[in-house]
């Protein structure tokens, strides 16, 4: 199986607080990895390191066989600017609070990057966008502005926007946490749709039932370390670690 993402022994500190400690995992093509863990455990920081928003202190990250950053025993060595940019284009990111561009219509939110970054023609970008919007059940929203949409619709647009660049892997940082409970379903449904199409995904989520159902593998993080990793059946059904058990217990009580 082709490896899309490999993270090896990464460390990240903010000042004196060590936020990621010896994190290693990999994701193969078509695989779906769910990352769960209490708030403050370093999940967002991990995604931000892979997405080049933070630099790591130690360790290695490889995307589609291209070394993004490696460690020579003394310091990290990042790839050159052009290569980092190339790597970035293979990665899509969906934010907790959507971050749609408010001054663009839904359609332009989706077409702008393919046109400006991938230099696609307007016709091509728009037909791809309309196609994707149709799949997301948003075809009738193309000419609207983000403020005219519900949170769930906005998040679906932001997923469409990321998909329009045909990334090799898509990261989600708690895609439903900013939504009213009655709107989470429609977003989880489109992620499920992507899963059926074998999109490679890393999903940070507090939706345990969803993670259990859709993920191929689950990682439980706490205090900046990976406490436990396994299939959903293992991690949710018979967790090996006490910390995992405690965490899941708290969630099932809510």
């Amino acid at each position: 199986m082709m490896e899309i993402l490999s993270v090896k022994q990464i460390y990240k500190a903010f000042g004196s607080s060590q936020v990621l400690k010896d994190i290693s995992f990999s994701v193969s093509k078509g695989e779906i990895l769910a990352v769960i863990g209490p708030s403050g455990s370093g999940k967002t920081t991990l995604l931000r390191c892979v997405n080049q928003f933070e630099t790591i202190d130690k360790g290695e990250i490889t995307v589609c066989g291209e070394k993004m950053v490696s460690y020579n025993g003394k310091e990290t060595v990042y790839a050159g600017k052009a290569q980092l940019r190339n790597i970035r284009l293979k990665i899509g990111l969906v934010f907790q609070n959507f971050n749609l561009f408010p001054h663009f219509t839904v359609l332009r939110n989706i077409t702008e990057a393919p046109m400006a970054v991938l230099k696609k023609s307007r016709e091509e970008a728009e037909s791809t966008a309309m196609n994707l919007l149709g799949k997301m059940g948003l075809a009738d929203k193309a000419t609207q502005y983000p403020y005219q949409l519900s949170g769930g619709q906005q998040q679906r647009v932001s997923i469409t926007r990321a998909m329009a660049l045909s990334p090799e892997i898509l990261f989600f940082d708690e895609p439903t946490s900013a939504l009213d409970p009655e709107l989470t379903g429609e977003v989880l449904k489109v992620i499920r749709g992507l899963a059926e199409e074998h999109m490679t995904m890393v999903i940070v989520t507090h939706e345990m039932a969803f993670a259990r159902d859709v993920a191929d593998r689950v990682v439980f993080m706490d205090g900046g370390v990976i406490v436990e990793e396994g299939t959903p059946e293992q991690v949710f059904g018979s967790p090996r670690e006490e910390r995992t058990r405690q965490f899941l217990l708290r969630y099932s009580q809510q």
Binding site: Q52, F53, R88, F95, F101, P102, A113, Y147, L165
Partner: protein, 217 residues
Amino acid sequence: MGNINLQELMPAMLSGTVTSLNIFFLTLLISLPLGLLIAAGRMSRLKIIRYPVQVYLLIMRGTPLMLQLFFFYFGPYYILGISGTSRFTMAIVAFGLNYTAYFAEIYRGGMEGIPLGQHEAAAALGFTKNQTFLKIVLPQVIKRIIPPMGNEFMTLVKDTALARVIAVSELFDVAAKAASGSVSTAPFIVAAVFYLIMNAAVGQAFSFAERKLDYYR
């Protein structure tokens, strides 16, 4: 209202108005782009750029524009021994540098108001820094700064009257001289009406721009 000949007064007042408008537009021509540069310097991570810019902003916003006008008009001669600088040119220099400072702070406020998520979403989509600025940040900054810019433009219309202190004969200077010559308040009233007309136009332009950008939130 004293003995005043409107037929003689009007042409002088109109030519004063033209001078005022020249100060207004030339100041904008200098300050609007230069303010952007200064705002970038103010937000720079490099202290060697940021600190001098902060000193510049402090001086320009912390001392009277009237004093700055005197400084730029008399400074070249008293400090550098250069004579023959034109009053009008030095007025433009003083207004330009002064308003650059105010515009820079408005730009900075506008840019700092753009959520970090906008920059990050653009970066995640592969936009370059320049593309992010031009396509994502700037349009949103423009919408945000229209109200404070409107205030500043109106203040500038009125501030042009200060050019009189270095004997630039703009609208207010003409009015004041005509008033003292004819012992009449009529020239002041005419000047007031002219300033009001100019600012009404500025106000209209800004509410038009505000309506134009009303299509998103």
